[in-house]
Symmetry: C3
Subunit: 278 residues, 3 copies
């Protein structure tokens, strides 16, 4: 049974997501189709890149990931199929896959060239599904596209490190469902640079000098519950489950007390500065 | 493996959708259940009709489509099972299926009459699921209902054409996830009436005299990217993937720059006038 | 084929839900994974408890229900696996399962103790999925946890009945997708107390002295449609499909005319008083 995932900006009200699923089931009767997200902000490549990067590796090797964000086929927006880390990805060549390819070299990249064989003005539905079905049936990428070496990059995806390695300029790449603020700093990169030095993370007027391993890391469970000063110490920096640096509020609720994003006054693309002790 | 789809106005927070799915799996262990939409506006028959019409034909023949919108069983709201275009549909007789039946004659229509055999006050859960399971097991419609000839119509579903065929009065039937405005004009009907004549589409103060085949049709890719006057020419009329006339903005984002709906000042049921050259 | 359901407060935009599904499919290739809800308000235990209680029993016996709400593993928030009513539930010991256990005694309760064998800071993904896979493969609960007798209770989950049984003080536990107001009064409990007496339900300035069996119960279908005074009589109390007392508006639409919640001025945790005739 083939596993296919879908990541789009189609939303959950329109018929579009179901149309894609129907087309998949018409090709692959027993497909296991899993939604990754259909609430990517319209045409938001960084958001799509972040979500697919954090989701895909939980699926079994051989899974096929269709990404329908900014995917209209034009002279300037070609279509890709790539294999990477034992998974397959089908998306436009608009930078969405560059975050994946940052840490792991793709095994194969092809520019899809079967468009003349499929009549359509809804590319995700028709071309992407045909390519996915081809892969699911064990077909080679080289049959549906011509091999290329490079894919388009998202600019500024990695933090900038200054010359003497004393400072890292990062930025916010995602705000999650709890209002927590996720930066583009990856754990390994941070630890390699820090080499055990002390540091200060500054995000607007907020300063953090410790990075926790879990949300509850900020709570001192040795103090009896009644005696804890709960208002204090609830904001924290942590490496999250995806190993990105996150600025969070313990048990934050964006609907009531407000999430980290609003409490810290941080939004997408805002700058975070990390200074290391010399 | 049976394919069953669900289209409801139940929303995605409540337990209702899962309750229906649980009931289906209790009847049909290996059912492939696909959500079409659960975000239909409450009791909005036209919206449900539009979404199901655009989604269903992508699924394999033999699929069973359950529609839970305005489906409470009352003396004035009977339940239907119909077969049409090789698919099965289960819904209330409230007009939802009339948009489907506009272009394609149903193969069979029955008014469901098994309600006395199912104790319930949640019709979609119990009666619709029983009927779907019956169909999935290969049962005939005539066993679960009595054959009827006609179904209730939605009024004003088709555009009005004047006597000398010089004008078509259409209206907005759906606003999609990108804020694009979809009219009730179908491509074939338009082309049959236009017979190659020039035309003007007026929607409030907006005028279109060309209908594109894709969103990017409005972009002149022969001009280098830097030299294009991007502010111009981004609004367009097109026949969309479902062959309805759509008024759109190329890469519109309702969350930031605003979608076609807000930029054009158009909302559901607003009028669009198309004048043909004599 | 194992059926696993998911109930979380992860939302539908982030990668988290898909990450859990990927992990499940990596353990159980043919799992049937069904979403119950991912829109539980962040950390809202009562809401989660209400949704899972109303959904689970529609699924086949043997289904495994994973609940990822307030589930971070801490010294004060242990993890449970329980079997109850022929179903399995995996959740934190934070009260979520107490609404289920109110009417039905659990067959077995264990406190999960495999955390040292799973490296993680995202408990739902790793520990809950491992436990679910263990159960799906036919494993005993006693292998993955130590048996305990009691689970943490949600306070004030049941209505309070006064000494002479003349009054019931209930409260609002859920507002549904249509804006209808659901109370914590269960049908059986109400009928047992009422013993056929007349009653008055008061919710702010609204008074009900009849409980219907369906939404349309408030409509007099014997009067011709044109002659009905539709403005009148549309607000009603009913025992809903889940056998909870609900205050509703017939065909209410929270997006336009407003749902029961806004029209009655009722919100979560508000008090409803029921007085019985002496």
């Amino acid at each position: 049974m083939s596993i296919l995932t879908l990541t789009t900006d189609f939303g959950l009200k329109d018929h579009s997501v179901a149309a894609v699923k129907g087309a998949i089931l018409s090709e692959l009767e027993n497909a296991q189709i899993i939604d990754i997200s259909h609430l990517i902000s319209p045409f938001h490549i960084t958001e799509a890149a972040f979500v697919i990067k954090n989701a895909y590796h939980n699926f079994p090797k051989g899974s096929i990931h269709i990404i329908g964000v900014d995917s209209e086929f034009t002279p300037e927006n070609r279509h890709l199929a790539i294999s990477l880390d034992g998974h397959y990805f089908i998306a436009a060549n608009n930078g969405i896959l560059s975050l994946l390819a940052l840490n792991i070299k793709p095994e194969e990249i092809v520019e899809i060239n079967i468009h003349d064989r499929v009549e359509t003005n809804f590319t995700v539905l028709d071309v992407f599904v045909k390519v996915a079905a081809h892969i699911a049936r064990g077909g080679n990428l080289s049959v549906i596209g011509k091999r290329i070496d490079d894919i388009k990059q998202i600019t500024n995806i990695s933090p900038i490190i200054n010359q003497d390695s004393s400072q890292m300029i990062a930025h916010v790449i995602y705000i999650d469902n709890f209002g927590n603020v996720i930066t583009n700093v990856q754990k390994k990169e941070f630890l390699d640079l820090a080499k055990g030095r002390k540091f200060k993370i500054k995000a607007r007027s907020n300063v953090f000098n410790k990075i926790h391993d879990s949300y509850s890391g900020v709570i001192d469970f040795s103090t009896p519950k009644e005696e804890r000063i709960v208002e204090d110490g609830r904001q924290l920096a942590l490496f999250n489950a995806s190993d990105f640096l996150e600025l969070a509020i313990y048990k934050s609720n964006p609907l009531t007390v407000g999430g980290a994003s609003s409490l810290f006054g941080l939004k997408l693309r805002d700058t975070i500065t990390i200074n290391f002790e010399k």
